[in-house]
């Protein structure tokens, strides 16, 4: 190993989360448990997307919810399970927040792109960029002072969490979702910003409240069972 490679290797192993990367996987095929888990988590996202939209009844309209509580779920699932989480977010939106509430496959398939982009970007940014800069790609630093003996940067983690996920990606998601529905003639132009704000704040509130609960309560359990993906696929 050359000196340069050693430096890179040392830098990568500085954090307990260095094994969570943007590689394809750990070089192992998908096990039967993972195979089932990936399918079941997609089903879970479908159900939660459906409930997110219908629990508010008539207030939710065209698949847009004023409290879209599935948003933090698929972000966390993506950080755990990579491409399968992203797939879950997309399919969940197509079926749960689309077909099951009466939107047709064409509209659902198009506007679900708004739920596909945020987890994709989150996975790339956190695993590829921020993990090497001391930010946990599993978001444990939002709730824990230490992860495996390494002190976390909680304030930075929270600021990045809100800016990246809550503001930037959420705004892109709202723009895409409401824009596509407006394009298909489901939302009138005069009501565009009203629905945009509903989408944005509905996702933001859900994300801030639910994500820490989800991370604190479950990440350790999932990690202990060896079910977190090392890369995109496994």
């Amino acid at each position: 190993m050359s000196g340069e490679e050693k430096t890179v290797s040392n830098k990568q192993n500085k954090y307990p989360w260095s094994n969570y990367t943007l590689k394809l996987g750990r070089g192992e095929p998908v096990s039967t448990t993972q195979y089932v888990l990936y399918a079941v988590q997609i089903a879970a996202v479908i159900i939660l997307s459906y409930l997110s939209v219908v629990l508010l009844g008539p207030l939710s309209y065209s698949g847009i919810s004023l409290f879209y509580f599935v948003y933090p779920f698929f972000l966390v699932f993506t950080l755990w399970w990579g491409i399968w989480g992203i797939l879950g977010a997309y399919i969940g939106c197509v079926i749960g927040a689309g077909l099951l509430v009466g939107l047709t496959p064409i509209v659902s398939g198009a506007y679900a792109i708004s739920d596909f982009i945020p987890p994709l970007v989150v996975f790339i940014v956190y695993r590829g960029l921020l993990a090497n800069r001391g930010i946990d790609p599993l978001w444990r630093d939002l709730t824990d002072k230490e992860v495996a003996g390494v002190k976390t940067k909680r304030v930075t983690a929270w600021i990045l969490f809100i800016v990246i996920n809550g503001i930037i990606l959420n705004a892109i998601s709202a723009e895409l979702g409401v824009g596509i529905e407006n394009y298909y003639g489901l939302i009138p132009s005069g009501a565009y910003w009203g629905w945009w704000a509903g989408w944005f704040f509905g996702d933001l509130i859900a994300m801030i409240i639910i994500t820490p609960v989800l991370v604190k309560g479950l990440t350790k359990l999932v990690e202990r069972q060896g079910l977190i993906n090392g890369g995109w696929v496994t």
């Binding site: 888990l37 079941v40 159900i47 489901l186 005069g190 509130i205």
Partner: protein, 353 residues
């Protein structure tokens, strides 16, 4: 053995679907899942196209949309699911087209045409069709929900929608008697506003009930079977089947956790919205933990049954053949699509000149 299983299945009167159980032997049950998917895709393309025709090109195809909605309801009746639909989704889904109508009525800017007067309050209580709407909607919703508040909201909303158009209020055909109350409050809208808003509401109703038709009459195994017919490998088809099979189980898990939370007095004293949201957040932990546990158990069970090792697997028994009925349905819908979307004809123009 496989033949016995198929006979056992086909001899059943009802089979389980995504969100209900379906009567066997109906023409809709016999349709191939690919035909059903084509049907909802075609119907949605037609609805999206019909309600989006610009005013300058003749405006939305209202009669075409009414025709589509009639087809959907006829198909629901044929499929034998109307009783379930009437008991559950019919009223639940109704607020969506109504809100669609209201949004498009007030937020659709820049429509051409003369301005027409609409009333917030016409200065009298009209006794006529609007009163009949008020009484009927209140009666039906109250009968279903036994709640005066829940019944009064849609009743008043629909009453107001039928009473706000000046032409309705002042026509002796629709208003038979007037009880003068208070002053008149009015506003003006483009004459096209109601047509466009109505077309959006009808289009949405077509899309909603077509989706329900699919969900009420399709089995998860049928989709997996169709995937195999389309040449997908067993593992991929089984993966899709697993997703659909897990939906119902997870929904039951969610309900059980909610009931357990209620039994532990969750949300008894805390009334504000944020407390309720936090309660909802706490459902997530047992729900995901259950999901992981179940996945692990199922994974082990599949492994023990040689899922990874098996080369030759039993195919899905629910796989159907494409019949002449499927071909007919696809052909009729294709002709309709070509007539309306490709050639740009409008059913409205056949009746309204």
């Amino acid at each position: 053995m496989a033949r016995d299983d198929v006979e056992a299945r086909t001899s059943k009167k009802y089979v389980r679907t995504f969100i209900f159980s379906m009567k066997t032997g109906t023409p809709i049950e016999k349709l191939h899942v690919i035909t059903k998917i084509f049907m909802i895709a075609a119907m949605s393309v037609l609805a999206l196209y019909m309600f989006d025709i610009p005013v300058l090109k003749g405006g939305p195809d209202i009669i075409g949309l009414i025709f589509l909605l009639t087809i959907v309801f006829v198909l629901l009746i044929i499929s034998g699911t109307t009783k379930y639909l009437a008991n559950s989704y019919l009223l639940l889904a109704l607020p969506v087209p109504i809100s669609e109508f209201i949004w498009w009525l007030f937020f659709n800017e820049g429509l051409p045409g003369a301005r027409e007067v609409f009333y917030l309050w016409p200065g009298f209580f009209p006794i006529g069709i609007s009163t009949a709407v008020l009484v009927c909607v209140f009666g039906v919703v109250y009968y279903r929900t036994r709640s005066i508040i829940i019944a009064i909201i849609p009743a008043v909303l629909l009453w107001w929608l039928t009473a706000m158009a000046g032409t309705f209020d002042f026509s002796p055909l629709t208003t038979w008697f007037r009880l003068p109350i208070g002053a008149t409050y009015s506003f003006t809208l483009s004459s096209w506003s109601v047509t466009v808003a109505l077309s959006k509401a009808l289009g949405f109703a077509v899309m909603i009930y077509t989706s329900f038709l699919f969900l009420l009459t399709t089995r998860d195994a049928e989709i997996a079977g169709a995937m195999r017919q389309l040449g997908l490998s067993f593992k991929k088809a089984f993966f899709i089947a697993l997703i659909f099979r897990s939906l119902n189980t997870l929904l039951i898990d969610y309900e059980n956790i909610r009931i357990a939370q209620t039994a532990r007095a969750a949300g008894v004293n805390r009334k504000n919205v944020f407390s309720k949201i936090i309660d909802l957040a706490y459902v997530s932990i047992p729900l995901v933990a259950t999901m992981i546990r179940r996945s692990t158990e199922m994974g082990v069970a599949l492994y023990a049954r040689g899922f990874e090792a098996s080369k030759k697997v039993t195919s899905f028994k629910e796989t159907k053949r494409i019949t002449y009925m499927d071909v007919t349905v696809i052909a009729i819908l294709s002709v309709f699509l070509i007539y309306e979307v490709v050639l740009g004809h409008n059913i409205n123009n056949l009746f309204v000149r």
